[in-house]
């Protein structure tokens, strides 16, 4: 058996979390460096995954597979394996985490007055913050790699707990509501996050049990193995009744739609992103939420092709509502972080749309979108976080003319924003374009409506920039310091990546495309043939 690369990639941050948490309270800085080191080691393993992954057309669909028995009684195995989509998502996760750690370097330091209090000697928020981030990373990697559905579910659910503590335990320093009000808001957001996702997860649990019973019925032994189920379905051994398949699909889809989040179960996201610190907000939207859309591709379409097709009109409608609704609400926000959260909802609408139009451009675009959205939002949100930490307010109206006092900050903010509005030359443009092309080739009306999302995106990003960065300098901002070296070191690579993927997406599409073809064949779909009649008639 070869080196278990996927396990190593997940285990590294898990061990890092434990080590970081064990650092004594006085050694805060050491804890940060340890966390950073472990996250960089994870990047190394992720790079090895990318290099080892075979992108040839004839290569296995799931590679780097590992399989060990775990809970035989439940029919659960420790089965890992990645297709191109999984590789891309693991790479995104691994790459983003060091930046988040860098961006949140000082976010979790105890306040000066707390430092002395004897009661807090064993309260180590800094160590906890970085340990929790690494724990989330480990669980996210495992859920991207799991090919056993039960295994996936376990990490899908378990990651809620560290996430919950990150949201509820750490927030921006000051705000208009004062210390107490903010703590209340924060724990409200954390509880809302947890309950929404827990309900989704429990619904999925019921569907999971249903799936097990169905497979046990038809295959003699119940199984959760994705590959076993796909094979059995291919050979006709497993043939779910239409109504069973639809119920199971719904159970899975609801869980993923809440995680993604799709309108109308999106309302936890603005609270969670608004109240948490910028790195945690990025962690939510760029990493954790991607598990939802990723799972739609891998599990909903793979396991329940007919039901997915049956649900397509509804899902596309919900996705369109998300695109427009998210964009409109982003326009109306007074709070910078909530604006970015609503923008994310709009973008998740695009991703879900791309997945469910069932064309190779759509799904390929959606996968690229998951990556690019992660990078673009990270850049925008982290710079916004730096800005907020300087002024102590999230309100857009508290800012103005920042580009005069902090030009670098304003410039990076602008680039992040342009990425978010999918400017050609940045990564998101290509993915959004692909999604729209894929949509047009099958659902023209949906494509047209989705295009309105682009216009609105330009509006909310540019208006945000105009209000905060241009115009006369607001009182109190005259001495706003520009980006520090640490902050620049975080933002610059992200921006470079954003532009690189906008100009040269080839490496990414090479990895992703075979997997998309496989997914499409799961659902028995082919791209609609281009309409050539009119062209020929015109010649």
């Amino acid at each position: 058996m070869s080196f278990p690369l996927l396990t190593a990639t997940a285990l590294t941050p898990a061990i890092g979390a434990i080590v970081t948490a064990a650092v004594p309270s006085a050694r805060r800085t050491a804890a940060k460096w340890i966390a950073l080191a472990f996250s960089l080691a994870t990047v190394g393993f992720a790079a090895a995954i990318v290099l080892r992954f075979d992108t040839d057309a004839g290569a296995d669909r799931y590679q780097l597979t590992e399989s060990r028995s775990w809970i035989e009684d439940f029919g659960v195995r420790y089965e890992l394996g990645v297709d191109g989509i999984g590789v891309a998502m693991i790479a995104l996760t691994a790459v983003l985490i060091p930046f988040l750690i860098g961006a949140g370097w000082n976010d979790a330091d105890p306040k000066e007055d707390e430092d002395e209090a004897p009661a807090s000697r064993r309260w180590r928020p800094t160590q906890g913050f970085f340990a929790l981030i690494l724990a989330v990373e480990a669980m996210v990697v495992l859920s991207f790699a799991a090919t056993d559905i039960f295994l996936f579910y376990i990490f899908f659910e378990a990651m809620l707990i560290p996430m919950y503590f990150l949201i509820g335990g750490f927030g921006d320093r000051a705000g208009e509501q004062g210390e107490e009000g903010q703590a209340r808001q924060r724990s409200y957001a954390a509880v809302k996050f947890l309950l929404y996702n827990l309900v989704g997860g429990l619904v999925m649990l019921a569907a999971l049990i249903g799936l097990y019973v169905a497979t046990a019925d038809q295959l003699e032994v119940g199984t959760f193995s994705l590959q076993a189920i796909l094979e059995a379905r291919g050979s006709g051994e497993l043939d779910l009744a239409t109504s069973t398949e639809r119920w199971l699909f719904l159970g899975f889809f609801v869980a993923f739609a809440i995680k993604a989040p799709l309108w109308p179960v999106h309302t936890w996201l603005p609270n969670a992103m608004g109240e948490s610190t910028a790195p945690v907000a990025v962690l939510i939207t760029a990493v954790v939420d991607k598990v939802g859309t990723f799972a739609m591709l891998r599990f909903c379409l793979g396991l329940f092709p007919e039901a997915s097709e049956w649900a397509t009109p509804v899902v596309i409608t919900l996705a369109l509502v998300s695109i427009i609704y998210g964009a409109l609400l982003a326009l109306g926000q007074r709070d910078m972080k909530r604006l970015i959260a609503y923008a994310s909802i709009s973008h998740f609408g695009f991703i879900v749309l791309g997945i469910f139009v069932m064309t190779s451009q759509g799904q390929g675009g959606a996968t690229l979108y998951m990556i690019n959205h992660g990078i673009a939002t990270a850049a925008l949100m982290l710079v916004a976080g730096f800005l907020i930490s300087r002024r102590g307010s999230r309100l857009i109206s508290d800012y103005g003319g920042v580009q005069k006092t902090a030009p670098v900050l304003a410039g990076t903010f602008l680039i992040g924003g342009l990425g978010t509005l999918s400017l050609p030359g940045t990564g998101p443009f290509i993915s959004e374009f692909l999604v729209l092309v894929g949509t047009f080739s099958r659902y023209e009306v949906a494509g047209i409506i989705a295009c309105a999302g682009i216009v609105l995106a330009a509006l909310y990003v540019l208006v945000l920039y105009q209000r905060t960065m241009t115009g006369p300098v607001k009182p109190g901002l005259e001495k706003l310091p520009d980006l520090r070296v640490r902050e620049l070191a975080v933002v610059a690579p992200l921006i470079a990546l954003l532009i690189f993927l906008g100009v040269y997406p080839q490496p990414l599409t090479d990895i992703v495309n075979p997997a998309v073809e496989h997914t499409l064949s799961d659902v028995d779909q082919t791209d609609p043939a281009p309409h050539l009649e009119e062209v020929e008639a015109g010649q």
């Binding site: 009684d73 009661a119 309260w123 309950l195 827990l198 309900v199 619904v203 649990l205 019921a206 019973v213």
Partner: protein
């Protein structure tokens, strides 16, 4: 056999050794109370209790490894006791819980030392009027109630018999043997004695009612079948009686007697389990009883009572499956929903855990309703997982104290995570296990039970269970929010550093919670090997 002829009973001493050891130790404990000087009683009782439980557990392990759980399963004691897989598994769990219970009972570092003597959570002189001169004198003299240890051993002995009982009279005797010491123990709290006595009285009165129902049901089943032996009744139910008792020819085979009698016995057992609508005693008793007793009772009674219920339904009444299944569906749904919903409004940790135990009774019933071997083993596994989480949670409750004793009001727990992060984290682990979050024992148990139910076609129960879990998650999470995200109050409680006794209880419970969540295979195997009842 002539009625006049006496037959010497055949007793399988070895097969019954676990309960015999515990009962023997309990009697020795009473003798120690009577004859040993006051100064050595505490040490003697603790050592005796721990030794007895450990050796009884060893006996269970030996019996199980001799195949008594599977191929060698037998009916012992003239047909009155069954030594089989479920019985041995549950006995093992009860003995471990009991051992841990002895540790909790023996803890003497929590209360501030009174008049130079270390004291435990139990009243100095229970017979004295609360606040009266006799009590003051007893406290001044530094008396402690070491009688708790024999009482505990008797209760454990009864619990060991309960899931073994293979005829209705032994069932009743076991019920009384386990209940009477518990009624007493509930009344023995050192602090808040009136509340404790009220709890004991309520428990006693309602428990007496339940016993009466059970006994009446036994009488009716005897009228129906002419025998109190489980297999005898099962034979009559399936229309194949071994012999007809001429004195009962008029009533034998009367279905009305069977249905009413079966329902009454089930009622008596559901009372002990604490399922809706027989749950009324749970919150008051859990709150009033001394917390070590609550923890022990919540864990062990549930294990024993579910064992007895399983045997009754699977051995005696499988022929009536179509009659009791819908009823238990209703009871399971009502327990899950009522337990989860009412718990939301609770403001006291112990009451909260009480309502959560009601909801969990509902989850376990979902596995009982499955009526498959999988159903039995999933219930066994759930009971093992649940009992340790419960013990751990109550052990933590004993540690959070202020001047008035245990600070059980939830508002006092605000900010506990900042004062003692480790303890709060462990308590959060227990709460997450209650909520059934993956990688904890609660999830494995819940999944096992729900899967068994779904396999048996009870998807409706699974869906209700899943929704109730979501509601339940809300109040577990609320406590976590309170501990970690609220600012600590200035006059908040402090966490007492306990002796290694309680420390080991909490550590063991946390370890079991994690192990059963991450690597449950071994224990699932144990439970599924133990899935068959002997007839």
């Amino acid at each position: 056999m002539n009625p006049g002829e006496l037959q010497a009973p055949v007793i399988e001493w070895a097969a019954l050794s676990p309960s015999l050891i515990v009962f023997g130790a309990a009697i020795i404990g009473v003798l120690i109370e009577a004859f040993a000087p006051r100064s050595v009683r505490y040490t003697a009782e603790v050592v005796l209790g721990a030794l007895a439980l450990v050796s009884a557990f060893a006996a269970v392990v030996v019996l199980a490894s001799d195949g008594h759980a599977t191929s060698e399963a037998q009916v012992a004691g003239m047909g009155s006791l069954a030594v089989d897989g479920p019985a041995l598994f549950l006995q093992g769990v009860i003995l471990l819980v009991g051992l841990v219970g002895v540790f909790l009972f023996a803890e003497r570092r929590l209360e501030p030392a009174a008049h130079g003597a270390a004291v435990d959570s139990f009243a100095a002189q229970p017979a004295a009027v609360p606040g009266g001169p006799a009590e003051r004198e007893a406290v001044k003299a530094g008396h402690t109630t070491t009688e708790i240890f024999p009482l505990l051993l008797f209760a454990i002995g009864g619990m060991l018999l309960f899931p073994m009982a293979n005829d209705l009279l032994v069932l009743f005797i076991a019920l009384e043997v386990l209940s009477l010491p518990l009624y007493l123990l509930c009344a023995l709290a050192r602090r808040r004695r009136l509340l404790s006595q009220e709890a004991a009285l309520k428990y006693f009165l309602l428990g007496a009612f339940a016993s009466a129902f059970l006994l009446f049901g036994i009488a009716m089943l005897y009228g129906y079948a002419g025998t109190v032996s489980y297999s005898g009744i099962a034979d009559v139910v399936s229309g194949d009686p071994a012999s007809v008792n001429p004195g009962l020819a008029a009533t034998m085979g009367n279905d009305a007697l069977l249905l009413i009698g079966g329902a009454m016995i089930t009622m008596g057992l559901l009372f002990k389990v604490g399922a809706v609508p027989f749950h009324m005693w749970t919150p008051d008793v859990y709150q009033g009883a001394p917390t070590p007793v609550t923890g022990f009772m919540a864990a062990a009674t549930k294990v024993a009572a579910f064992g007895a219920l399983l045997r009754l339904l699977y051995v005696v009444l499988p022929g009536l499956r179509w009659d009791w299944e819908p009823v238990l569906w209703g009871v399971a749904i009502a327990s899950m929903v009522a337990g989860a919903v009412i718990a939301i409004t609770q403001t006291d940790v112990k009451r909260l855990l009480a309502y959560s135990s009601i909801a969990h009774a509902g989850f376990i019933l979902a596995g009982v309703v499955a009526v498959t071997e999988d159903g039995v083993s999933s219930v066994l596994f759930y009971l093992a997982a649940y009992s340790f989480v419960t013990l751990g949670a109550f052990a933590v409750v004993t540690l959070v104290r202020d001047a008035g004793g245990e600070a059980t009001h939830l508002s006092k727990w605000a900010g506990l995570g900042r004062r003692s992060p480790l303890l709060a984290a462990v308590f959060a682990l227990f709460l997450l296990a209650f909520a059934g979050i993956p990688l904890t024992s609660g999830f494995s148990g819940k999944f096992a039970v729900f899967r068994a139910a779904a396999d048996a076609g009870a998807m409706g129960l699974v869906i209700v269970g899943v929704l109730a879990s979501a509601v339940a998650a809300f109040f577990y999470v609320r406590v976590i929010v309170l501990m970690f995200f609220s600012e600590p109050k200035a006059d908040g409680p402090s966490v007492v550093i306990p002796s290694p006794l309680t420390m080991s209880v909490v550590a063991l419970a946390a370890a079991v919670t994690v192990v059963l969540g991450v690597a449950p295979q071994f224990f699932l195997d144990l439970a599924s090997d133990a899935g068959m009842f002997v007839r």
